[in-house]
Symmetry: C2
Subunit: 405 residues, 2 copies
């Protein structure tokens, strides 16, 4: 692996800080008015796979507007295709501008059909912060947390792509002082900054951590919208349900494991050695800078969070190994949310719940407004990038705007 | 609706106690060696839809070996098709034995593609029993339980059809006396007697209880295999995960809402009035007798549970209304487990956990063996039937056999 930019005949891909240089090549589904189809981001453009005479992969793999069939084709095809696209777009190859569609003229769609969605809880600062608020500082981290990547099954039907509006949910609410619950719009609607890992391989048996890493195809940004007041009343004893089922927004470009290879980094030091089936076998997290901007209806932007994916206590490979431990079949298109990525410092917290400490310490925005939780008209934009010496790997944006209940 | 048997030219369908009289007409997918395809049970036979010149429904709806496309066609097609099949098989119609396949010569497959799986916890006796064991009698029923149908998202990939063996899961285990967890086969592997409700309609918005009832297509028996020792260690704070993801077995025939219409019955009297969006609007449970047989490796059978679906505190329509309350999109093929059906008496309990009271009071089997939880080689068979004066509606069997870890 190189730390150098690989130059393309697509000039915009060679610009400093371009999110989509030739080193990246993330996979998406777009519609420029001529139908939804698969494409690869390069600079300001999308390589339209329907136009490219491919050798490494059969065009049938792209017959549907989703990357599921390609993922199912296996890791050899993943590698050969990436090599071919790298070559096709390389500065030494003949330019083929007819194969490009401007990103500005295309709408991005969900890049894959989400088979099932699992959301983990693998950020130690997040778990500690939330645990302190919900259960007090003495019981902040549940006793199992340092031994298992705790997770719950989410709702695949609720996953939407960046740009979709998110309607404030109704739900059953009951505050500690209320005698009875009521059904009303959530007043504590929140975002969660996460990375989503995409499973690219079907399996019917328990996976080792290495096998799990091999089965992962790529990563997206993920916002697990959460209604804290619905959650507080419903989550005992069986976990979050309606609090997390309104919507989950993902970024439109699948950044492949191959593109992230130079950014591998290790999980933090552990309090307890993990059991063998979950032990780290190499660096399986990634050094990805993450940020959250809150944009009010007037357009005022405030950078409210800056953190890094390397904060996680468990890698996606460890989460997938745990997920399959009981024999649970995993399938192409399964989406695993990392859990909220929060750092140790206040400005590194990945949710309003933590940033405003449950509403006790509202956030001051750039236009002078304050926020404890999200208001109608607010937009939340997640961004992520892995920075090398000569280039960066961007994720594109993950944006959602709250509409009234 | 009539309480009378509707007679068919298929003689075996007219026999007393036949599970599949003309009043039933459950939908399945079978393979007699000539490929998997859709069929309707009648007496000892399956009506092979590929052979029937249908007027009410396009054969394209049955192009795939699943009932999803038919469900998606909508309630008018559901009704017209049922009318046509009733007429085709009626004793007044000309017999067409060439359209029949003997059930004894066919293997049954999953009747539909399970889109997502949600498991509820709506049996009051079960919730009280389990709550007493896990949290003590004073905190047995969680405070939200009488106000919301508590549920969690399960794992659709783990759903299998009756007859599939179920491998004892490995998992992370830690008893209250253990210093550290270990990874080992579950020693407290259990069944749960449930009814599964199948969603037959896509929706993107909140459903009323009436709309939810209209969106339900049919019902199956469901065994939510559960590893109690994995569950005890993992389930706080986000609910059951690997404890419930090894397998969930369903019976192969979808018994339609139409067939169950004469058996509608009301939910029990309530301690608290439900909020408007969950209120009963009519009888939406069903009077279905349920039983569980445990069969040891030697073949000895013991009837260990007899109860009734009418024990549930919430109907599937109420569960679906709640499920959609936050705007969660629901889809054709979503499967909703009722929660374990337990009655008030000891012999009416729907899990080993309750029957053996957490292992403190082992069950005596017909061959003199005792059981606290399931052992390798044990088979669990669920059965269900709704009994009218002149006929009954059977569900077929829901059977699974434990193989070693």
């Amino acid at each position: 692996m190189t730390n150098e930019l690989i130059k393309s005949w697509v000039e915009s891909a060679n610009a400093p800080n371009c999110a989509f240089p030739l080193n990246n090549l993330p996979y998406g589904v777009f519609n420029d008015g001529s139908g939804a189809r698969c494409g690869v981001a390069i600079g300001d453009f999308i390589l339209d796979l329907a136009q490219v005479p491919l050798k490494s992969a059969n065009h049938d793999l792209f017959a549907q507007p989703s990357w599921n069939a390609f993922m199912d084709a296996g890791a050899d095809i993943w590698a050969a295709f990436r090599d071919e696209i790298t070559s096709v777009l390389h500065e030494d190859s003949p330019p083929a501008p007819a194969w490009l569609v401007a990103q500005s003229s295309a709408e991005m769609l969900l890049p894959f059909a989400v088979t099932e969605f699992t959301d983990f809880f693998a950020g130690r600062h997040h778990a500690t912060n939330v645990g302190t608020m919900f259960r007090g500082p003495d019981h902040a981290l549940p006793p199992n947390w340092l031994h298992i990547p705790i997770g719950y099954n989410g709702r695949a039907s609720s996953v939407v792509v960046s740009g979709c509006s998110v309607r404030r949910p109704h739900g059953q609410l009951k505050g500690p002082q209320d005698e009875l619950p009521r059904f009303a719009p959530s007043m504590r609607f929140d975002f969660e900054l996460e990375i989503g890992a995409i499973v690219g391989k079907n399996s019917a048996a328990r996976l080792s951590v290495d096998e799990a890493d091999d089965a992962l195809f790529g990563y997206v940004l993920l916002n697990d919208w959460s209604a804290r007041d619905i959650q507080a009343w419903e989550y005992q004893p069986l976990g979050p349900f309606q609090a997390k089922a309104t919507a989950t927004t993902i970024s439109p470009w699948i950044v492949t494991k191959a593109a992230l290879e130079p950014f591998r980094t290790s999980t933090p030091e552990r309090d307890f050695e993990l059991l063998d089936h979950l032990k780290d076998t190499g660096p399986m997290l990634y050094d990805i800078d993450l940020a959250v901007d809150l944009i009010t209806q007037s357009g005022a932007e405030t950078r409210i969070t800056e953190t890094n994916y390397a904060e996680m206590y468990y890698s996606a490979a460890q989460q997938l190994a745990h997920h399959s431990a009981c024999g649970c079949p995993m399938r192409v298109g399964d989406l695993l949310g990392s859990g909220t990525v929060s750092g140790a410092e206040k400005h590194q917290r990945g949710s309003m719940l933590e940033l405003s400490w449950g509403g006790k310490d509202p956030l001051l925005l750039s236009d002078g407004q304050t926020r404890s939780f999200l208001e109608d008209g607010d937009s939340v934009r997640l961004s992520g990038r892995a920075q090398a010496a000569g280039y960066c790997i961007g994720f594109g944006e993950c944006l959602g705007t709250i509409t009234p209940a």
